[in-house]
Amino acid sequence: MADFTYTLLIPLIPFFTFLLLGLAGHKMKPIMAGLIGTSGLGASAILAYSAAISYFWTGHSAGTPYTSIKAFEIPWLHLTDKLTIHLGVLIDPISVMMLVVITTVSLMVHIYSIGYMKGDTGFSRFFSFLSLFSFSMLGLVLATNIFQMYIFWELVGVSSFLLIGYYYYEKPSAVAASKKAFIVTRFADLGFLIGILMLSFNTGTFDFQTLTDPHGPAIAQAGGAAFMGLSLLTWSLIFIFVGGAGKSAMFPFHIWLPDAMEGPTPVSALIHAATMVVAGVYLVARLFPVFALGAPDALYVVAWIGGFSSLFAAVIACTQTDIKRVLAFSTMSQIGYMMLALGVSGYGGEEGLGFMASNFHLFTHAMFKALLFLGAGAVIHAVHSNEIGDMGNLRKFLPVTHITFLIACLTIAGIPPFSGFFSKDEILVAAFHSNKLLFAIEYLVAGLTAFYMFRLYYGIFWGKNTHYHHTPHEAPKVMTIPLMILAFGSVFAGFLPFHDLVTSDGKGFESAIDWFVAIPSVLIGVVGIVIATILYKKESAMPDRIAGSLKYLHRWAHRKFYIDEVYLFVTRKIIFRYISVPIAWFDRHIVDGTMNGIAGMTVYAAYAVKGLQSGKLHQYAFVFVSGAVILVLIFVYLV
């Protein structure tokens, strides 16, 4: 077994670039900062690739299962006799895969950002935050235990917050969006925390290896209904999943994701498409044996939440006009796919197809979704707007962007031989074998996906001949090269032998394309594309008519089914107005009022007894004598 200790450097290099840029960035030339950040990430990426190669291939004897390796671990915080939080590096198929994904996308985004953010104030700050994010995300995937994961989970959240809001801090909408993102995910993280508390209480460990050991104590203790017919383990996993759902923008925690698009586009590409938002999927995958073996009920929840979210998001995506938002909902939809795949999967061998498919899709999705976002970024860069309405017919001006964007659209639509086809197909197969209703939903979603992506594609690159103030021009090389690299990835990633590499139990299995499922899915994708072509390739009034005929559905979908409003109602009205304001009032007037009241009473009493001191000698004498008599009465006769 190879020594993987050096993988520790993969997160640490970005951390040091973060410190360097954070502390000294404002004194550097911007380009310098960009180069430092990028080269740091480049180094990480190289390490990640070499780790991947040595883990999957060179250092691995074929035919044996992949095992998880603790490459490094130090105690960080001692809690109880049993529980100690460690920080370490865990190398196993999914973490290595994630390393590759994260470093790749992040490197691309870094490179791209040098062009995209050029001339922007706070350039170096941006790069330091990017480094911070990369560090956190890498730390998250390498976590050896659930608590380390939680730590980096939070850090990822805050980096996202910083990148959304702190960068564009003068833009109120960005600030609001960042706040929303943070608070909503934080709320979900509370679930995560409670889940961790319950899990660690029941199992006495944080460690993933112990937890996920199919013969280990955690799974062995699973049984027994504790509350509402579900076992404690199930409950804790459901709570943990709440955290995952928050980060991964699953319904009903998805509301922050569209708003997060206020952030710079590279950020959206990196965080809100390719890496951070899949953390929830990664979390479930990480604990998959526990889910699958210990708490199938929890997995069922995962499947349904995933399935519903994918449909829900796809419907909304069809109606959005902000290109980044369309992509955001698409992301949500795709992550729903992944969740669903996990949810329908079993443990071990062929049973674990869903698990494999989910990770596979995660991998391919990272490529093409990053590509889409970066492409969208190039478009926005060219036209200075996010609205489809402001675009059209850009294919002449932005040829490279156009081609790469088209590749990405085809990939996501699941058209063979692009990578999306392979991963999505596996998911559909897994769903087909598990739950037909979910399978049907996913079919529908596949069609919708193709439709809205091509609606977007046509809206940007075809459609009406928009008049532009400045002639849009293609992005600089530094931006287009990442596009091309990612396009390359999107095209060919599908051929990776995932079923050998990333499986639920480490053992590879045979998996072939199930044409019975694949052909209809490709067809439905094509149908979606065709409809989109008809409606949007040329400017026409048809879309509006259709929208009009679907009156309520369209309006509801356009308004994202009013989930935001519900949240607003809960936070503004109920929490703010009906909880916080009364509590603050109560505190000032009742609690504090009581304290002041006691003081006031004392002073009042002081004035009330004033008359006793009348200045009149005979009254003094009267009190004197009565006092004596009363004392006699009490102590001689009453006591």
Binding site: F624, G627, F635
Partner: protein, 475 residues
């Protein structure tokens, strides 16, 4: 009776002599040189104070009417030190034109009350006790009425005298019943014969009433504020510090040596009176604007605290009361010293006049603050220790709720003490009292009390000394 007996009575004899010497000198001095009396008296009294510290032994004279022991001598010494400070603080005031002709009388009256207190402390029977009580009261009434041109002064005098007459009447009635039931006026006999019968409880209550007047316990306290306000400031400080301190000493002696057989009864009485005194004293102090009245009511509340030590009924209580009184003397004299310095120089004694005092007279303000903190029982000044030991002694007897009430009252008292601090340090004033420099004597007096406030707490030997002496008294 031989010479050594004279040494035993040195406090009383020397002070009597001192008073006579002053009288004689005064008769032979020309009117212009009357102020010389001040320095002579101060010098002599200083010597008297020093001599008081000579070692003393247990001894009984006059067939038990006079007794002395190191603890009693220590009490007298404590009073002496207090009086010395009072005298130092009165110098400026005595030198005023209007008081010129009455300087020696001031001293003689003051000293005769002090002699009365000595006798009370040393008394071994109720006759000497009563005599001492009257000797300690009647001349003070004259002192309270000392300033002629102020109606308030005369009013203070008559209020003090008449209430004192009433109270000593009631006290005497009690004494007569005590005599009737035990057949003796000697403490040593009474304590053996005193029992918990209704009549004797009644007698005790009548007796206690008189003591309550002296220490100004509620409801026998109403004279206090008026007399304190009306009397000349230095007399007030004497009344509130020395007179009350002596009364506390005597009360504790009497309670512990005479009435200890009915302790279960008097503890209940003390409990009630103590709660009343602290609370009422505080309530009245709360809204006072006149500094003298303010200090009067605060000293009433302090008297309530003193009872906490007595209620313990043990050596710890005794020690803590004496220690508390010692601390109280210094703290209260610190406060009175400042009020006196200000009122003598500027004639102002309202709390509003103190606004912004720190800006003009920082040292006075600081001393005042320390003194008030000491009265409130705030560390690190001595009052904290005094209060703590008092509360501890009450707690040692199991009176936790009483301690709680007392500490709450201490908190209330902190409120009004802080009001003065606020006036001096925080409030802004258009016309703060102008800067002035006190004369040497006043400053010495202030410094002495300041030192006492600071040192007494940390200097545990003092507490230990008192404790070792108290030990002898009870057992």
């Amino acid at each position: 009776m031989n010479f050594s007996d004279i040494l035993t009575m040195r406090h009383e004899l020397m002070l009597t002599l001192l008073a006579l010497v002053i009288l004689i000198i005064d008769l032979n001095l020309h009117n212009r040189n009357k102020h010389l009396i001040i320095s002579i008296t101060l010098g002599l009294f200083f010597i008297h104070t020093l001599v008081g510290f000579l070692p003393a032994e247990n001894s009984t004279l006059f067939g038990g009417m006079y007794r002395t022991n190191p603890l009693l001598v220590m009490m007298k010494n404590i009073l002496n030190v207090g009086v010395l400070i009072v005298l130092l603080q009165s110098v400026t005031w005595l030198k005023k034109e209007e008081n010129r002709e009455k300087i020696s009388e001031y001293f003689i009256l003051l000293f005769s009350t002090l002699i009365g207190m000595y006798f009370m402390i040393s008394s071994g029977d109720f006759l000497m006790f009563y005599l001492g009580l009257e000797l300690a009261t009647i001349p003070i009434a004259a002192l309270a009425a000392y300033t002629h041109h102020q109606t308030k002064s005369a009013e203070a005098g008559i209020k003090l005298l008449l209430i004192s007459a009433l109270s000593s009447g009631i006290l005497l009635f009690g004494l007569s019943l005590i005599y009737g039931s035990t057949g003796s006026i000697y403490f040593d006999t009474i304590t053996q014969l005193y029992k918990n019968t209704p009549m004797q409880v009644l007698a005790f209550i009548f007796f206690f009433t008189g003591m309550g007047f002296k220490i100004s316990l509620v409801p026998f306290h109403l004279w206090t504020a008026d007399v304190y306000e009306g009397a000349p400031i230095n007399v007030t400080s004497y009344l509130s510090v020395i007179s009350k301190g002596a009364a506390a000493f005597i009360l504790i002696i009497v309670m512990f040596t005479v009435f200890n057989t009915i302790a279960p009864v008097y503890n209940n009485i003390l409990y009630l009176i103590s709660v009343l005194t602290m609370t009422i004293g505080n309530l009245f102090a709360l809204r006072q604007k006149n500094m003298k009245r303010f200090l009067a009511f605060s000293s009433i509340a302090q008297a309530g605290f003193i009872l906490l030590g007595i209620i313990g009924g043990n050596i710890m209580g005794m020690t803590s009361v004496i220690y508390f009184v010692l601390v109280y003397i210094f703290s209260n004299l610190g406060a009175f010293g400042v009020v006196s310095a200000i009122s003598t120089v500027t004639g102002k004694d309202s709390m509003d006049d103190y606004d912004g005092l720190y800006a003009t007279n920082p040292k006075l303000s600081l001393l005042m603050m320390l003194a008030l903190f000491s009265l409130a029982g705030i560390p690190p000044v001595a009052g904290f220790f005094g209060k703590f030991f008092l509360f501890a002694s009450a707690a040692s007897a199991g009176y936790y709720w009483l301690v709680f009430i007392a500490v709450l009252n201490a908190t209330i008292s902190l409120y009004y003490y802080l009001l003065v601090v606020k006036a001096m340090f925080i409030n802004k004033s258009e016309e703060p009292l102008a800067y002035f420099k006190s004369d040497l004597a006043t400053r010495t007096g202030l410094v002495l009390s300041g030192l006492g406030i600071f040192i007494l707490g940390f200097w545990s030997q003092i507490y230990e000394l008192i404790n070792s002496l108290s030990f002898g008294i009870i057992h």
